[in-house]
């Protein structure tokens, strides 16, 4: 596999975590403009742990996920009862606050005679754990897709369970769900925490793939992109967001067909697609038709 293909595949994997994070909240009926904040929290936390304290990557990833979940709880607690645009704007404000805090974050130590660590707007260089431990790019790709496969298996299992049905019922009509005995507030908080942890995991992997991160990586464009990925791919199944990411990064960037007009083509396609399928390619109806057919065959 050449470097270009490897890079495209890696990026599809990395941004899938973020798209899944946005997707989880969309299922619960909340539109977040701020998942990129937890992606950033994961990237910075994981980077600091491995680069400055020589913590092994798996441990650092776990810690980063925990921190991502905590940050999501911190944002979610005061805001999850807000509706629609109010929640979207509160998460946008939180994410911009996080990005501006990354710009203020200066925390450097001398490692092997060189200053390492976050340096405000100058970014955070030298997150080299992957290279120092002899992990090849292809192996790292396998690691990303292994983790993604694990997350997907869990999510698909959850979607077929009672838990998944509860989640969708909250997204459809929170008051009705509450009247059926669902503790909507606690459920949403749980979903927000999981979504935060998922985004943080993507962030850790992103930081270690790129070896360099800067606050600008985690701006509002990234957040809206992940929301768009989830919606284009479809809200019917956890495979939807992956399809969205693959369509944008894989098909359009990967094929290099459209050169300098990629965003014009992609933007037009998305707008037209949403007219025909407002809940994405793999929407609930399609998924339902498909699963009921396979069930009957059994």
């Amino acid at each position: 596999m050449d470097d270009f293909t490897l890079g495209v595949l890696t990026n599809i994997g990395l941004f899938s975590f973020l798209a899944l994070s946005a997707y989880l909240l969309l299922l619960a009926g909340e539109m977040s403009f701020g998942q990129q904040a937890f992606f950033g929290v994961g990237a910075y936390a994981g980077g600091v742990l491995t680069a400055l304290y020589s913590v092994p990557l798996p441990l650092a990833a776990l810690a980063a996920m925990l921190l991502g979940a905590l940050a999501a709880l911190l944002v979610g607690l005061p805001t999850l009862r807000l509706k629609g645009l109010y929640f979207a704007m509160a998460t946008l404000a939180a994410a911009e606050i996080a990005r501006l805090l990354f710009e203020l974050l200066r925390f450097q130590r001398s490692i092997d005679g060189e200053l390492a660590g976050p340096d405000g707007t100058q970014g955070f260089r030298g997150i080299r754990w992957v290279f120092e431990h002899g992990v090849e790019a292809a192996d790292f790709l396998l690691l990303i897709y292994g983790l993604l496969a694990f997350v997907l298996t869990v999510l698909l299992a959850v979607e077929r369970s009672r838990l998944g049905a509860t989640l969708r019922s909250i997204g459809e009509d929170p008051e009705l769900a509450a009247s059926l005995g669902v503790d909507v507030d606690r459920f949403k908080l749980g979903v927000a925490a999981c979504a935060g942890a998922l985004a943080a995991l993507g962030g850790v992997l992103f930081a270690h793939h790129n070896t360099y991160i800067e606050p600008r990586n985690f701006d509002i464009m990234l957040g809206v992109h992940s929301l768009a990925y989830a919606l284009i791919g479809g809200l019917g199944t956890a495979l939807g967001p992956l399809l969205g990411v693959a369509l944008d990064i894989g098909l359009l960037e990967g094929s290099r067909l459209f050169g300098g007009t990629r965003m014009i083509v992609f933007g037009g396609l998305v707008a037209v697609l949403l007219i025909v399928r407002p809940r994405g390619l793999l929407d609930e109806q399609l998924v339902h038709r498909f699963t009921s057919r396979t069930l009957r065959r059994r």
């Binding site: 539109m31 509706k83 629609g84 911009e96 606050i97 710009e103 929301l227 407002p278």
Partner: protein, 294 residues
């Protein structure tokens, strides 16, 4: 010290006036459609790029440039309305918003295809020296912007509260079904309000680039964020609220820049919005308690 406070207040009101215009545009669209138009700012940016292109190729005068900015913003706005909002009128708000984001991507790429440099100069509204008045510095161009904003808001008020069109708009905001029963065509109101909002945005955009003296592709995101922020700070409830929100944002930015420095300036505005939303006061939810925001 007192003089600095006063100077900051003046500067804040000056930048707040353009924020107020952006917020008014956003509020008009949100009021009648209950949809967020993310490509509001990028459409304005495209208008400014059109004017810059005219300036580079034909050295057009100020009036032509202003007209071109507004015309470009309205044209881009019409494209957004047809592709993102007309098809989703009774459907999904999220789909409409994501579609408007998709067109944002188009506008940004189109702008950089036509004018590929990262930054372009834009002719200033007025190049004269600033006035000195009791130790305060007053730039003639910001005074002109302030005056124009006041005139524009007055005209808008007359249009919305003293004309049949305004009555139709307000009726549609209140209840589109009842409005259509009374013989108002909501579809027509949607389109006209969209055009009106885009024109106001275009004027705001012209003032922004003609006082900053430069155009960059970042203007799109910048206008969308400032407009959204000002609209939300004003309570997402009314046009006076949008104007107050814009002025408040300008004042907050000017004072926090002075006291805390440029890095903390944006932080303060977002922090304030987050705290306000979390506290969720009644005046912020006036429009959305009767009809859902989503």
């Amino acid at each position: 010290m007192l003089l600095d406070l006063l100077q900051n207040t003046i500067d804040g009101i000056a930048s707040g006036a353009t924020y107020a215009l952006l917020a008014v545009g956003f509020t008009l669209i949100f009021g009648v459609l209950r949809r967020v138009n993310l490509s509001f700012g990028p459409a304005i940016m495209l208008g400014c790029y059109g004017a810059t292109w005219l300036h580079l190729n034909f050295q057009s005068g100020l009036v032509v440039l202003a007209a071109a900015t507004v015309a470009g913003a309205v044209l881009a706005g019409a494209y957004v309305e047809r592709l993102c909002f007309a098809p989703h009128r009774s459907g999904s708000a999220i789909a409409a918003m994501v579609a408007s984001f998709a067109l944002w991507m188009q506008f940004e790429e189109l702008a950089t295809l036509v004018l590929p440099r990262h930054i372009y100069p834009f002719p200033l509204l007025h190049e004269g020296a600033p006035f000195e008045f009791l130790g305060l510095t007053l730039r003639p161009d910001t005074l002109a912007v302030l005056g124009a904003a006041v005139v524009l808001c007055t005209l808008l008020h007359r249009l919305l509260y003293r004309s049949r069109f305004g009555l139709a708009v307000r009726a549609t905001i209140e209840n589109p079904v009842a409005a259509s029963l009374a013989g108002i065509d909501p579809g027509r109101v949607f389109v006209l309000v969209f055009a009106l909002a885009s024109a106001i945005g275009g004027i705001a955009g012209y003032f922004i680039v003609a006082t900053h003296g430069q155009v960059t592709p970042m203007l799109g995101m910048w206008s969308t964020l400032k407009g959204l922020l000002a609209m939300m700070l004003g309570g997402l409830g009314s046009l006076p609220g949008a104007i107050a929100g814009g002025l408040a944002l300008g004042l907050i930015e000017a004072h926090s820049q002075w006291f805390l420095g440029p890095q903390l300036r944006d932080l303060v505005a977002y922090l304030l919005l987050f705290v306000l939303l979390a506290a969720n006061p009644a005046w912020m939810t006036r429009w959305t308690t009767s009809r859902s925001a989503s």
